[in-house]
Symmetry: C2
Subunit: 192 residues, 2 copies
C-alpha cells in the first residue's frame, strides 16, 4: 500500500498532501513477485531500494556457493552499493517473498529533495541511525561464537526464522548449513 510509506515518514516529519501526492505520482512504489531479481551482481545499478512489505535477500557467490549476506524486511533501507556510481554491484538482490519496494534513482531523489528539503534532512538523520545500528550489529557478530550468533538472530529477528530457509540463515550467520543444524540439535539437547 502507498499508505505504508506515508505512515513510516509521518512518524518523523509532517507529511503534507503535496508530499503524499508526489510520492504516489512518482512511481516510487513498486510491486514484485516472489523470486524477482531486483539487482544482478556484476551490473552497475542506478537504483536504491526501501522495503515496504515482504523480504529481500542479498547474496553473492563464493567458491561456487551462494552466500546470503543480508535479509531486508519491512521498513528497511537496502544498503548494498551506492547507486549513481558506475561500479558493478557485488551482490544480487532477490525478493524471497512477494514484496512492495520503494525504488529510487538519482534524478527522482534530487527532484524530491528540491521540492521537499525536509526529506533530505530526514534521510541524513535516519541514515546515521541505520549506520549506528549496523556498526553495533557488526561488532556483536565479531564478538559472538556461532551459537551466540544464532541465539542473537532468534532474539533480534524472530520473524525471519520462520520466513527463510535454514541454509540461507546459516550463511547469513557465517557458517555451513550442517553447523547450524548441529547447533540447533545441541540447543534442543540442553533444554531437555
Amino acid at each position: 500500500m502507498e499508505n505504508e510509506i506515508v505512515k513510516y515518514l509521518s512518524r518523523y516529519i509532517p507529511v503534507t498532501k503535496e508530499l503524499e501526492e508526489a510520492i504516489v505520482q512518482s512511481g516510487f512504489i513498486k510491486f514484485f513477485k516472489r523470486g524477482t531479481v531486483l539487482l544482478e551482481a556484476g551490473k552497475p545499478s542506478n537504483e536504491c531500494y526501501f522495503v515496504i512489505k515482504g523480504c529481500v535477500r542479498s547474496y553473492c557467490f563464493k567458491d561456487g556457493e551462494e552466500k546470503t549476506t543480508e535479509f531486508y524486511t519491512e521498513e528497511q533501507a537496502i544498503t548494498v552499493s551506492v547507486y549513481g556510481k558506475n561500479k558493478p554491484s557485488d551482490f544480487y538482490l532477490e525478493c524471497i517473498e512477494d514484496a512492495i519496494v520503494g525504488v529510487g534513482n538519482p534524478e527522482l531523489e534530487d527532484e524530491m529533495y528540491r521540492k521537499f528539503p525536509e526529506l533530505e534532512s530526514l534521510n541524513r538523520v535516519l541514515g546515521e541511525a541505520i549506520m549506528a545500528k549496523y556498526t553495533e550489529a557488526f561488532a556483536e557478530f565479531k564478538m559472538a561464537s556461532p551459537m551466540e550468533r544464532y541465539l542473537n538472530f532468534l532474539k533480534t529477528r524472530p520473524d525471519l526464522n520462520q520466513r527463510v530457509p535454514q541454509h540461507q540463515i546459516a550463511s547469513y550467520l557465517g557458517m555451513k548449513p550442517e553447523s547450524l543444524s548441529r547447533i540447533r540439535k545441541r540447543m534442543i539437547m540442553k533444554k531437555v
Copy 2:
C-alpha cells in the same frame, strides 16, 4: 591542521572562505594525546567524531575481556552511537595515537547546516557511501575464514598492521590472540 579538513571537504564541494572560517572558529577541531578516552561505555554521548589525524579505537568488554571492534584512522567518520539520543554508549572510544579529531554536537551541526546547506547534502551522500562500504565489509567478514580475514585485513588496511598491537587486531578480526599468532606462523611456513 585545520587545513586537513578543508582539503577533505574541497574534494567534494567548493569550500568558501566563510565556510573555512566557520569551521575554524567553531572549535570543531580538537587535539588529543595518545590514551585519551573520547567516550566511555555506559555514558550517553552528545558528540560525533571525525578522525583527521591519528587513530581512534572503539572497544567494549565481554566476559571480562576487552574487545576491539573498530579502528578509525585518517578521514574516517566514527559511526558508533548516534548522538542526540540519550542512549548510553555501547563502546569506549580511545585515541591510540596522538590525534586530531573533529568533534561535533547537535547544536553545532544544526547551525552549520543552516548556514551551509550544502554540508548536509554532502553528509548524506558521504554517509550513504560509508554505509555501502561497511555493508560490503560486513558481508566479506561473514564469508571469510579467520585466515582469509587476516589476509583481507593486510590488504585493505596495511598501515594498521604496523600501527596497532596484535592482540587488538585479533579481536578486531573476531578471534583470540593465540589464533592470530598461529595463523601468522602458518602463513610464514607456507611461504618458505
